[in-house]
Subunit: 338 residues, 2 copies
């Protein structure tokens, strides 16, 4: 009992070794109360020597914070693992992980695994939801567990949930205006059918664009699964039925890839016969042939804001944050003279 285990030294081991009480050691580390600099130095040295690290679990229990936040998307990773939206989610994940770590938090990836429903043995201090849908079960789940939530992209119909507005309306407007400027007269839109704010606002921006510039609306809504193939099929139909189309706005980059394939198959050259633009400037946009005009959404900044907001949320205050304005990145796929 009073032997030292092979295991990690505890605070009381350290206290004993230093000849002080555990309280003093604790204060020496946290600085919550003054301890004699001499003593503090001795404790520090001894701690290093013994390889003492305060137990995160004990600290968590006492403080009520695990120091872990979660990143969750309602889009099954299995779907995202096709190259579809993996890039988008993971770019956020990587940035959020960095932001979290600089605040001494760890970031957990939690896939919406069916088996994980009831379980989830780990407690999170908060969760960042990526582009949740209307009535997203993840929202319900975390609200029931009273876990603070921050959303990247507002939660449709839930203005009460703090979110980082990723400005999907502005993004869509940017792209559509660009197409108009490039001389497009008949622009179609490929938009996801899931009720996420980005898709809802993209659709709204498109409708506004159509009524402003005249012409009938050519909006195709489609599911996110098998996004590229679906978009391929739909675009084939769309272009055949509407030979006057000269521009396409794809609200998801995988849609753009599919549309590009369809256009090429029909012999519509991009950008001469058809201009094609998409929102997310990921690998797809960059590597496409020709490269796709897209929008820099400032994802790392958005992730950083989300972490920041979540921390506020955990500590009580709540508010909404606007992301930086998105910026257009013009590439060949939409330019007047190739």
């Amino acid at each position: 009992m009073n032997e030292q285990r092979v295991n990690k030294p505890t605070i009381s081991d350290l206290a004993k070794a230093a000849g002080v009480s555990v309280t003093t050691v604790s204060h020496a580390f946290s600085g919550r109360r003054h301890v004699d600099p001499e003593t503090a130095k001795r404790i520090q040295a001894l701690a290093d020597q013994m390889g003492y690290h305060p137990s995160s679990m004990a600290r968590a229990l006492r403080s009520g914070r695990t120091g872990v936040i979660a990143l969750a998307s309602s889009m099954p990773f299995a779907v995202a693992a096709g190259p579809s939206r993996l890039g988008f989610l993971m770019e956020i994940a990587a940035s959020a992980a960095m932001s979290a770590l600089t605040r001494d938090l760890a970031l957990c990836l939690i896939p919406p695994h069916p088996a994980a429903q009831g379980k989830g043995s780990v407690g999170f201090d908060g969760v960042i939801l990526v582009e949740p849908m209307r009535d997203d079960p993840l929202v319900a789940y975390f609200e029931q567990r009273k876990t603070p939530i921050v959303s990247i992209g507002t939660v449709p119909d839930r203005p009460d949930i703090p979110a980082v507005n990723i400005r999907s309306r502005e993004t869509a407007a940017l792209l559509l205006d660009h197409l108009a400027q490039q001389g497009c007269h008949r622009v179609a839109a490929l938009i996801g059918s899931a009720p996420r704010t980005s898709q809802i606002e993209s659709a709204a921006a498109y409708e506004a664009f159509v009524t402003r510039f005249g012409g009938s609306s050519l909006l195709v809504r489609m599911g996110e699964e098998e996004a590229e193939d679906t978009a391929y099929q739909e675009t084939l139909q769309l272009l055949r039925a509407n030979p006057s189309i000269d521009g396409i706005f794809a609200a998801i980059d995988a849609f753009a890839s599919g549309a590009m394939r369809a256009a090429q198959e029909l012999g519509w050259t991009v950008p001469d016969r058809l201009r094609l633009v998409t929102r997310y400037d990921g690998v797809r946009a960059k590597l496409s042939q020709p490269p796709l005009t897209a929008v820099d959404l400032h994802l790392p900044a958005i992730a950083e804001k989300a972490v920041h907001l979540l921390l506020d949320q955990i500590e009580g205050s709540s508010r909404m944050i606007e992301a930086d304005l998105p910026e257009l990145i013009v590439r060949r796929s939409s330019q007047r003279r190739s």
Copy 2:
């Protein structure tokens, strides 16, 4: 003190409500000891009604397990955040997160942030290292903290650290043999200079290939930062200096992208004039024009094995796991007749 807080109900709240002791409640949940089915049912119902969830922190403290494992790569995310190896790492991350969750573990992403050196307030039960380098500081760090380690791709010079062998030698051999079969006589190799097993074994496989088929070695080693541009530059030089080259083996997909650009700029058509293959079958390989012949490394399976192995490791036993054999995916970039 005896009032119920606005906060989460504890086990003793529940026990009081059910009219039993905390012990009984605990047993009812864990099943470590028999409790009357009647009582158990009542407790369950009450728990659901009150929204009781056992505190993960208390459980962690008692059991010594946080239920959190980490995924770390020594490749700065900042580098990976260019589209370079993001795909590779993140595909593993997504899969590992799923595997972890099915075992009731959470997976944390930990970027090698400079500021995170001394800190890291969260305790991990174990860590999965992705393709660590020789003398990787991450290895030293976690060894010092006595955190169980499992590596994806063996740690060079550290056969004692349990790892999932991702069979880089076989992967390289597969690709090189394919090139030979396609009629290549003079194959060059683009290989990363970081001392990771994948690169070391790729180089070895290449040298073996060269000595077997004759001809001189054309191996270019280059850094991982700015991978695509570096490869572009190096390939330009390489092709100009060696017009007889008819095949390139790129050990990193970003290298392949750069090489492709260089070839196209020099007017070497792929695959007619030059056949190009790479290891990782990610977005780059699939979206490249022409698409790249690559290898299915079975990353999800590898991630799953890593999690499994780590769990063994945490519980004591230790061993090495072989990944499934990699499989060639032939695409246009390397085929004899386009």
